[in-house]
Each structure stands twice: as C-alpha cells, then as structure tokens.
Amino acid sequence: MALLRLQKVKKSFFGHKGEEIEVLTNIDLEVKQGEFVCLLGPSGCGKSTLLNIVAGLLSPDAGAVMVDGQPVGADRVGMVFQEGGLFPWLTVLDNVAFGLWVKGMGKKDARAKAREYLRRVHLEEFAFIYPHQLSGGMRQRVAIARTLAMDPPFLLMDEPFSALDTRTRRLLQQELLHIWQQTRKGILFVTHSIEEALLLADRVVVLSGRPARIKQEVTLPFPRPRDLRRPPFVFWEEELKSLFGEERDGQEYSQTFYDRALSQTAVLPAARPFVGRSV
C-alpha cells in the first residue's frame, strides 16, 4: 500500500514580469510504508517546492497528493529542514514537546514523551539548554526528535544534513538509518549528494532541471550499512553521475567533488586522527 501518492502534480509560479514559470510538471511518485526514498536533483530544480506541496504548505496547481489515502494536511507529515528551524526561545526539551502541546497533550505528558525521543537521538542530557548552545549536528538531531515525537506516518527531510561537516553527516546518516529501521516509517529524503542517496535509499528518484519531472528511478535492494566502494554502488554512482551531470551546476559539482575527496582520504589510516586508539 502506498503511504504517499502523488499523481500528476503540477506547480507554476509567476515571475517578476508576470510570466509563468513552470516548476513541476506531471510528477508521479509513490512511497510505501517503511520505504526510504531519496529525491535527487540539481539545486533550484523544484525539490523544495515539491516537498512543500507534500507537506501541505503549498497546494499544487493540478494533480493530487494523498497521504495514507487521505488528502494531505499540514499535520499529517513530519518535516525536517536543512537548518533545523528550532525555536530559540524554548529549551531543547520544550522544542521537542512543542508539537505535542499543539496537539493538545498536557505539559507534563508532553515533556515525558519528549524526553523519551531525546534519548533516542542521544541528547537527553541536553534537555534544559537552549538550541544556540548546541552544535549544528545536535540541532538536527533535536529537529529529528521533534518530528518523530509527533509520530507522523511519514517523514519528509529537506537536505537535513547538507549544512553539516562530513563526519557529523556520516554519523547522523547512521543514526537516521537506525531510527528508521526501528520505526519503519516512510521517508522522503531530498538531497543533492549522490553518495548520500546511495548510502541511505531503497529507491533513488532523479529529478531533471526546471521544470522538474522524474528522469529516472533506481531501486537499490542492498543491505545496510553500505560500502560505496563495492561494485553495485560504484556502478550506480557512475550511472547517476552521468545522469545528474547534465544538470549539474558548479556549486553542486564542487560539493560532490569535496565529498568524494574526503571519503577517499578517509580510507587511508593516516587520515583518520579521530579513531580513538591508545598507544
């Protein structure tokens, strides 16, 4: 059964001179219960627009978006943003409890539940500090905990790890996979990193440049944790790169290049000073 179903979704915006700019054309997409789908596309291609539509923050010009067989509403999906979007006036704990209060849960119950979800992302001891006191990676973990606490059937993630350094990103990717395997929620994860998509996804959906349409879908029925140096991934990486390359802009290219350079040096023992080993 499809948890999320998009049918022929279209969206246009109007430019400065009143001209119509088509952002999405005929997007058909399905995500099943417990499926991890990565949406890969060049920046500015409309990924975020698509995500906002799925989140119920924007309505499509045409087509249908169904979550669990019902039309989408703002509170039916959980969304994790690139930069957290935490509330700076609330403690970490209250940030996680916020969504539960909004739903009408009592303060005490909400905090107890929030605490449980903070434990899941290993941030229990930071419950009473404020978001600015956390590192970027920790803030993203709070954002994930906050979304999970609402127990949505479905998670949307908009490049949640792209603002983090490589090491923190790897760590959070592992944590996310772990949480996902425990909860079996459907996940739609937007990224512009091929590596990230290959590491995480059951299925990679490649979008074209504007107007975005689905260019290709790649199924990756491989177990995790994955080693991207192994044959199926090396093959798919090349494949996706050639597919993606036509759309790639300079920034994207350097990002991917930087990722690759780092992941390659990480193989060398000398380049891993953070491995704690007593001599």
Binding site: N52, A55, G56, L57, G73, A74, D75, V77, G78, M79, F81, E83, G85, L86, F87, P88, W89, L90, F98, G99, W101, V102, K103, Y130, P131, H132, Q133, R146, M150, L156
Partner: protein, 222 residues
C-alpha cells in the same frame, strides 16, 4: 553666577528628599509614566503585531506611523490641552503617544524579521492560526519588543518631563518650573539629577537586564 556650587545642589537634594517634596514629585511622575507606559505597551505591541502580520495594514499605515514617530510628542501638547484640559489627561496622552509609535515600529519590525523557516516548521507541526500567533509569532518577537521597550521608555520619560514643565500638577517637571519661578538654581539642578538618575536606573536595572537575559538565552550576544 551661572551655576550653584555642587554642595548646594547636594544639600537641596538631600533636604528635598528628607522633607518629602522631591520624593512626592518623583512618585507623582513615576505614577504618570507607569500609567502611560502600560498604555503605550498595550497599544504598541498590539498594533505592531497586527502591522507585522497584516500586509495591507502595513502598506496603509506603515509610513504614516514612521512620520508620526518623527514628531516630538510635546508638539501634541497644545492639542492635548484642548482635548483633555490642564490636567493628568493631557500629560498621560502625550507621554504614551511618545512611546506608542516606537513600540509599534519595533514590534512590527520584529514580527517581519521572524525567519520564515520557524513559521514553516510550526505549520508542519499542525499549529492553528491562533496557536501560530500566540505560541510562535509573539514569543519570536520578544527580543524586538524588549528593544522597543527600552527606546519607548526613553521617549516616554522625555515626553513626560516636557509635558510636566508646560502644565500644572505635582511632578518633577513642575518642581523644575517652580525652581525657575523662585530663581532657585540648586533646586532646578537637584531635580535634573533625579530625572537623569531615574532614566539611567530604569534602563540599566530593568530593561538592559531583561534584554541581556533574553539575548543570552537566544544566543544573540556576539
């Protein structure tokens, strides 16, 4: 003689406080500013929140309010005296007016500066329109509101003194005028010391502290 000796001023100050005339004047001014400031905060925050969220209202009134803010509030006194007579009403009117515009402008700017991401995040958590307002927009504007309060306090204090100088009653400004009538410079300077000290004390002990606390919590300090 241009100025009285500092020792004379100090003597007058101590005497005035002991006898209670200066103290009485001080509390009378304090009462007025508290009434006016409360009024200004209520109107200013409400107005600012509305202007920050309602686009057409901002387009309609935004620049008018900035224009009104640039009018020194004592300019309103003649009109206020005609409306309210020579009494409390006129002084409270111009004092709150001085603070209200600043409060509206600062609160409105704070609301407009809220990162869209925070609002979006709240919306994906299913907040109602009312909840978005009370639980997100209002708390997110708190730093701007506090900055507004500091400025508004300064404006209100100035307006109050100007108002008291020019009308009747028992405030600090009126004692100041009395000093002029009696040609008692040390009394004038003693009152000026009280006015200055009160302004600094309220700003330093109340508003600056509140602001610093919020800034520390939010991580806004450099």
């Amino acid at each position: 003689m241009l100025l009285p000796a500092p020792s004379d001023v100090l003597l007058t100050l101590v005497q005035g406080l002991k006898e209670g005339t200066l103290l009485l004047a001080f509390f009378s001014s304090l009462r007025r500013i508290l009434v006016s400031f409360t009024l200004a905060l209520t109107l200013g925050i409400t107005g600012g929140l509305m202007l920050g969220r309602i686009f057409w209202l901002d387009r309609l009134l935004g620049s008018l309010i900035i224009a009104l803010q640039s009018i020194p509030s004592v300019v309103w006194l003649p009109l206020a005296l005609l409306w309210f007579g020579m009494g409390e009403g006129a002084i409270i009117f111009i004092t709150s007016l001085g603070a209200t515009w600043t409060m509206i402008i600062n609160t409105g700017a704070g609301v407009k500066r809220i990162p869209p991401l925070i609002i979006k995040a709240a919306q994906t958590m299913g907040v109602s329109r009312l909840q978005l307002f009370t639980r997100v927009i209002v708390p997110a504007s708190v730093p701007a509101i506090l900055t507004g309060m500091r400025l508004a306090w300064a404006f209100a204090w100035r307006a109050l003194m100007a108002g008291e100088l020019l009308s009747s009653g028992t405030g600090l400004g009126q004692v100041l005028m009395m000093g002029r009538n009696l040609a008692d410079m040390s009394q004038i300077l003693a009152v000026m010391v009280i006015i200055g000290a009160t302004g600094v004390a309220v700003d330093g002990f109340i508003f600056r502290r509140l602001e610093e606390r919020v800034h520390r919590r939010w991580g806004l300090t450099g």
